[in-house]
Symmetry: C2
Subunit: 361 residues, 2 copies
Amino acid sequence: MPKIIPYHTLFAFCVSVFEKTGMSLSQAETASRVLLSADLRGVDSHGIARLGGYVRLWMAGRMNPAAEPELIHETPSTAVVDGHQGSGLITAPFAMEVAIHKAEKAGTGWVAVQNSSHFGIAGIHAMMALEKDMIGIAMTNASPLVAPTFSKSRMLGTNPIAMAIPAGKQPAFVADFATTTAANGKLEIMQRLKKPIPEGWVQTESGAASTDPHILKSGGAILPLGSDREHSSHKGFMLGSMVDILCGVLSGANYGKYVPPFPAYVPMPSFMPGKGIGHFLGAMRIDAFRTADEFKMEMDQWITDMRNAEPIDPDQKVIIPGDPERQMEAQRMESGIPIIPGVWNDLHELGEKLGVEKIPD
Amino acid sequence: MPKIIPYHTLFAFCVSVFEKTGMSLSQAETASRVLLSADLRGVDSHGIARLGGYVRLWMAGRMNPAAEPELIHETPSTAVVDGHQGSGLITAPFAMEVAIHKAEKAGTGWVAVQNSSHFGIAGIHAMMALEKDMIGIAMTNASPLVAPTFSKSRMLGTNPIAMAIPAGKQPAFVADFATTTAANGKLEIMQRLKKPIPEGWVQTESGAASTDPHILKSGGAILPLGSDREHSSHKGFMLGSMVDILCGVLSGANYGKYVPPFPAYVPMPSFMPGKGIGHFLGAMRIDAFRTADEFKMEMDQWITDMRNAEPIDPDQKVIIPGDPERQMEAQRMESGIPIIPGVWNDLHELGEKLGVEKIPD
């Protein structure tokens, strides 16, 4: 049974842990807010479950959490940020601020980030644009687990895309998805449930169909969105490639098979053409196109039309992107975040090792 | 058996037809070049096969091919273009020129287009950025044929996304794909072959699985990329939605179920919140991020790595986006474009009706 822990209790613990890695209080608060937004929004694989992973990257000397991100190149609507091997949980919000600032002046702002690390969930960064009446965009590349159509080799990460679009009376449209049929977190859920996964999520080391959620451990790969050629997995491959090129090649980070792994025990690639992991963040001011009021009125109509689209099963209406996560956030902020025993024990050990007071349960 | 007609012969015919609809010579040449780029690149459904359709839209008073697109709003990195009910084949290149011009000054340029019509293949517009050492992006919305996950209703078009990215010694990366499992053109091919289509491409009017390539005629719908919920069709739905919102809502065009149909015999929607069809075009100057030389060298590495990824079947290597279309273009420019009998007859009737000299065969 998972323990249910209040958000603010977990937040205080995360802040203390991040401070032990050298972050300032302000950095630790940003990193904790970003990290825990995953837990609040129901993406448990990307939240506090990874806190130990971040700490181990720091202990292995692969991450410098106290690094200050730096703007190293800019034009009126673009910038490149060097994360200086810091945490993506800090680098990405910094870069998104730059994108928003550019958009205020030039209409849009686009920031490529090099030398960063995992940035939590993409959606939380894209959502920073909403309160400014801007559309926010966030992408990241990630260590290679995905095979291109026709290949056995792991050449791409699950490379997510997020887009947050403001509405009026309706809540914002927030899409946030891996460019694969199934995200790695979904495999982890099925591993814990000890259940087979549907065909079309992964393939074996030799490229054959598989329903084994553990297949990555024996050289298998995750499949691009579309699953197989007949169902257009080449489109998922193109999407994942676009994310990789914008985040990795355009920024000067690593790309494709060279992206450094998250687990600190996995050896680093022997050759790396760039620096760290890359992100790509964007902000577009609505009124650089039409008035925000007009736009929001039409977005309300767009969302309402989709809500009212005739369902196949009367009990399952169309889901507007962002709705499930927003509902989950409201519920978990109110009643707490479930922590499964494996993660609980990891957090307990982490606290002991770093001398941080344990989480009260 | 299709007739094989030289490119320049078809080009001359298209120019004459477009001039009869009121276009200037220069407009007619642009429209013909864009339209025939589809035939050259092997996307036969979007090329000269649609010439009659464009003319019928003009005859029905739904399109004004001679209209001059107009820039109606701008910031340093954005603009909105009103197509004045003209042809997308002209409006989109105009808007892409604006995007490129903005990018030259501001680093990036983003242009939303309202009051346009079908613009041919998205890729050809995105590719305009390549010679300027820019990344080009092109999207359009289209008349509703696609059902959201969980719905029976047609709420979105096949809403393609194209991205063209320059490389150095390697040819450019050019992705261009509908955000559905199968594009409408693929259904048409299977109709002509009188073959069933794979499950996961379409659904029936009641939302059930179907392998009937004619299913759209009886109220069925095309499925978003991913095909079903288990294989993440909600991600295809999110992608198609993002394209619809950027092209339709942000520009002031129509969106979702209100997008006007391409066939002139299909009644217009009784309510339309915007103007015509919408596009969204973008250009990002590479050296707004890093030097073009560095970027191209890394792109060559990226492409080479993908070419060398270990294939499952030794005879089928990974396909780099843009390779098949470029090879087809070289071949068809050399040896001619195949025109199937149905299209040939349509073109013959079109020429007679407009008093354009018939295509020599």
